[in-house]
Symmetry: C2
Subunit: 196 residues, 2 copies
């Protein structure tokens, strides 16, 4: 066996984990979300940039505002999930770098003074952190339903600002009845990997 | 406790896991890489797109060709890692969709006929898969050293083609002496999460 984590963890995080389309009514607490974040915050980002920001949609009023921007096919499940989070990138992440990388105080201005450079770094590293977050939700025994089907400009105007861009919206909860279809195939190692 | 995976797995994947700058000489086998991929391939991507492609650099000749495109500060560790992989996105990933999403045979042409749409989807979903891969390397008891410091155009011309873009280069092995500096701080839950 080449893997060191036990089969139960492999199943929980990857093999048995699925993206849910229905949820039970069991609530997801702030304490659960904080435990997820406090695990996955250690995942690596380039220059320790930490560009991910999370907007948790907890009130019915905020949920209604969100639903208006979701694609038709995502609206029903987003309405019924116990909790929904907007994952976004902060294009002003470099403001935190003097604190996050104290041994390189010039990093903020020397490397990230230009907005397009920051947007590119935020898109990649924010997506890495989004993936860590999805894994963390599964590590908490919950199911995540990541979605990119929404009006990005509308979502940005409603919940964010010009310095933040949405990455995905994630439904969070426990799987309900008929939560998923049969698993779809994946590309094989041979299809994905070439060796030189 | 809000987390379901055991503390050993939490440590292996996140809390104790670190990005290594030095490596032992212990080789990394194709069997190990295949075990990693066969775990993390189940991680979710939008439309089950699976856009990640991996070029494994195994021969000294290929390593030399790679080093020429790495940033100065990454060259020494990339030269000394037991194995190096280029993670890239495939902008023609939609060709596989009829196989990957058999119940929606029109997805390939109806949704992904335009290249910019595919590039955007590949960038996000490829980065998610790259993060799953980094977690998988850790799940195998190995350390990953992801890097974005390289000449992207040079790397693309050397190892890829116009339909593929590099996401990152990853050193893979077991940590050597003085493999890392003390861990840098992370943004706190309160800094990252806002609740509505």
């Amino acid at each position: 066996m080449s893997l060191l984590i036990d089969p139960a963890a492999q199943d929980l995080l990857f093999r048995e984990a699925r993206t849910a389309n229905t949820f039970t009514e069991e609530p997801v607490s702030d304490a659960q979300l904080e435990a997820v974040y406090d695990l996955v915050k250690y995942g690596p980002t380039a220059f320790n940039a930490n560009p991910l920001r999370i907007v948790v949609i907890r009130t019915p009023e905020a949920r209604e505002r969100l639903l208006a921007h979701m694609a038709e096919g995502n609206r029903h499940k987003t309405a019924s999930a116990p909790l929904v989070a907007i994952l976004a990138t902060d294009h002003e992440f470099h403001a935190e770098l003097p604190h996050l990388v104290p041994h390189a105080p010039d990093l903020k201005d020397a490397y990230f003074s230009e907005r397009p450079v920051r947007e590119e770094a935020a898109a990649l590293n924010g997506a890495l952190q989004a993936a860590y977050f999805l894994i963390g939700i599964r590590a908490a025994g919950l199911t995540a339903g990541p979605m990119t089907g929404y009006d990005a400009d509308g979502l940005r105007k409603e919940f964010l600002d010009d310095d933040h861009a949405p990455l995905m919206v994630v439904n969070i909860g426990r799987p309900g009845p008929d939560a998923w279809f049969p698993r779809l195939p994946r590309l094989t190692y041979e299809q994905v990997v070439s060796t030189l």
